[in-house]
Amino acid sequence: MTIEILMPALSPTMEEGTLAKWLVNEGDSISSGDLIAEIETDKATMEVEAVDDGKIGQLLVPAGTEGVKVNTPIALLIDSTELPHTSIKTIADKPYLEKEKITTELKIKKPVKLEPNSSIITVREALRNAMAEEMRSDKKVFVMGEEVAEYQGAYKVTQGLLDEFGNKRVYDTPITEHGFAGIGIGAAFGNLKPIIEFMTFNFAMQAMDQIINSAAKTLYMSGGQMGCPIVFRGPNGAASRVAAQHSQCYASWYSHCPGLKVVSPWSSKDAKGLLKSAIRDPDPVIFLENEVMYGQSFSCPDDDDFLVPIGQANIEKEGSDVTIIAFSIMVGKSLEAADILNEKGIKAEVINLRSLRPLDTETIINSVKKTNRAVTCEEGFPFAGIGAEISAAINENAFDWLDAPVKRVTGKDVPMPYAANLEKLALPQVDDIVNACTEVCYKR
């Protein structure tokens, strides 16, 4: 019987790809496991293996075709011994329904505005450029982590660093977070400036003791002698469908501890400016990135000395009716919400925190004194979260200016579920922000 070979999805976020190369010809006999094609995704070029045995009857999509949607038939397999009811075709007959986007990734496909002396680059490139620039200007800076060198980074953030700086400056570590975090801290005590990449911050929990007990507290315990100039960076928060142990926001964990600085960029500009500040900073800095943001493009200053000071928030959009306070991926969602609110006649001001500790209380308070209403947004759990801290700060400093209680939009108070529908419910969505803002404005 004949089976259609379909364009496969090769990563959790892939929707289309380039059929780069066919590795088989029409008439070739193939068996399960044989490589049949090379497909380029946004992250990598992947080889695709045959699932069934048979003979290639026809190649439907020529090599080099770009933008081939997932699940498009790309070839026909004839003389297959496959049972009819197991064929790919039969299963694919059902509409491709579940592939709804979990995150708001690239939902706002607004054209990116190019600012003067800037380039449009992805957050991933901005982070890489920041490291490369600082490594060029300061020989003490080095990078260490799992898969950062030869593999070019599990999420390709350190791409090219090994080539440029060699293996004295870029180190692949074994999977031993507690050990290499401690080694980084020791190196920092020894006057080097380590950048430690955690493949994701979920794995930094293994290293928590070294980060808190050694990096954060030693300056104090040594009466100011032992500074620890180190950056711990990596993706934080939810990715897509990777479930409870791989989807957690650690912003409030680290922000809780004196001795640490905690920053979390949203745009490419934030990413570059904040990472450079973090590397130059004499204290330990926790740098919380977001995997979903890596591929997003923004205008970013070219200047090698462009810095975003730690402790300074940015007002991304001005408004008079309600202040939305967000960081990382939630900034984008807040801006989307602000657009929707605008149509409803509510002018929202959106604050991108950028730093969580020190927190730019001044910017928050000034804004709330103007709008008299506030909504905080984060992906993390509500209990003792960043929103709780901001709410307390507003209470302490702007209570008399408030026209409504502060509202928190957060991830749900549950471990992250795997199922697509439950994950969507667990994560804060644009609609949640819109609803919270309408509520504090008493427009409902």
Partner: protein
């Protein structure tokens, strides 16, 4: 390392293999392989999300060891867990339905590929943090010893995991307290993109037990007979209360680390070579042929398995998504 088939046949009497056992092992390995191929295919269609780590190539390890276990033994492993669940007779339908994130999955759709459990079958997960399962396995063994039930815990982990500190904390305590735990290192040569020799000092991972006085053995993990033989020995040692045992299984994963790994750290040739010369399923097929099982019989087994897998795939797609109310269940017991 690799034993040739004729030596296996000669060993047969010593190993007292009967044909049914061999056929069963063949079936189970094939069931795992076909399951994984289907999972890969469903992933490609967007029916499975997140991380999905396939076990293709490593089937002989878990099936060989399982054949030496007894009722009540416990098993714990990493995120590369589909094969382990099928080996301990968890229902492929429930496993596949978990992969698609549906209500009939083993974790009601809340765990996904990396996090499934079955108390009934003695399968204690499915753990996503590299090496976290190792002390957990020692703890399960602690419970076996405490309860004096003569059971053992089989604790699987990868070559990459073998460098984590908690492995050595577990070795020390397991040896000190003589816990009935078999540490199975599934050395498939790579932890993600890093080969063992780039991540691990010393010659053999199994040697690392020596400092703690733990017996160990290196086994050809592509040869199911060798795996079973070693497992029988190790499990018996543990059951006699002599303490832990390390089995380092030299094996190989054919696919990328997870579905989105382009696997540029090794050559296509390397994979092809291993596939051609030491595929565990082909190995046992040759042995079965030599023992008089004709191709037709093997083909029938294949057809039977394909239909089990097709049913599982259909079941997994027909099962409904979990009810929204499930979001708030199972967080604490009360």
């Amino acid at each position: 390392m690799k034993k040739n088939i004729s030596s296996l046949v000669k060993n047969k009497s010593k190993m007292n293999y009967d044909l049914d056992l061999l056929k069963d092992m063949y079936k189970k390995m094939l069931l795992i392989r076909r399951f994984e191929e289907k999972a890969g295919q469903l992933y490609g269609m967007g029916k499975i999300g997140g991380f999905c780590h396939l076990y293709i190539g490593q089937e002989a390890v878990v099936v060989g060891i399982q054949s030496a276990q007894m009722e009540g033994d416990s098993i714990v492993t990493s995120y590369r867990d589909h094969g382990h669940m099928i080996a301990c007779d968890m229902d492929p339908k429930g496993v596949m339905a978990e992969l698609t994130g549906r209500e009939d999955g083993y974790s009601k759709g809340k765990g996904g590929s990396m996090h499934m459990f079955s108390r009934e079958k003695g399968f204690f997960g499915g753990h996503g943090i590299v090496a976290a399962q190792v002390p957990i396995g020692a703890g399960l063994a602690f419970a076996h010893k405490y309860n004096m039930n003569n059971n053992v815990c089989i604790t699987y982990f990868g070559d990459g995991a073998a460098n984590q500190g908690q492995v050595y904390e577990s070795y020390n305590i397991a040896s000190l307290w003589q816990l009935p735990v078999i540490f199975v290192i599934e050395n498939n040569k790579y932890g993600m993109g890093t080969s063992v020799n780039r991540s691990s000092a010393g010659d053999n991972l199994s040697d690392r037990g020596k400092a703690y006085g733990i017996e160990s053995e290196i086994v050809d993990g592509m040869d199911i007979i060798a795996v079973r033989e070693a497992a029988i020995k190790a499990i018996e040692y543990c059951r006699l209360g002599k303490g832990p045992y390390i089995l380092e299984m030299k094996t190989y994963r054919y696919r990328g680390h997870s579905m989105s790994d382009p696997a540029k750290y090794r050559t296509r040739d390397e994979v092809e070579q291993i596939r051609k010369t030491s595929d565990p399923i082909e190995n046992i097929k040759v042995l079965l042929n030599k023992m008089g099982v004709v191709d037709k019989v093997l083909k029938d087994i294949d057809v039977e398995i394909k239909s089990i897998i097709a049913d599982a795939a259909k079941f997994a797609q027909d099962s409904p998504e979990p009810s929204p109310s499930e979001l708030y269940t199972d967080i604490t017991i009360n």
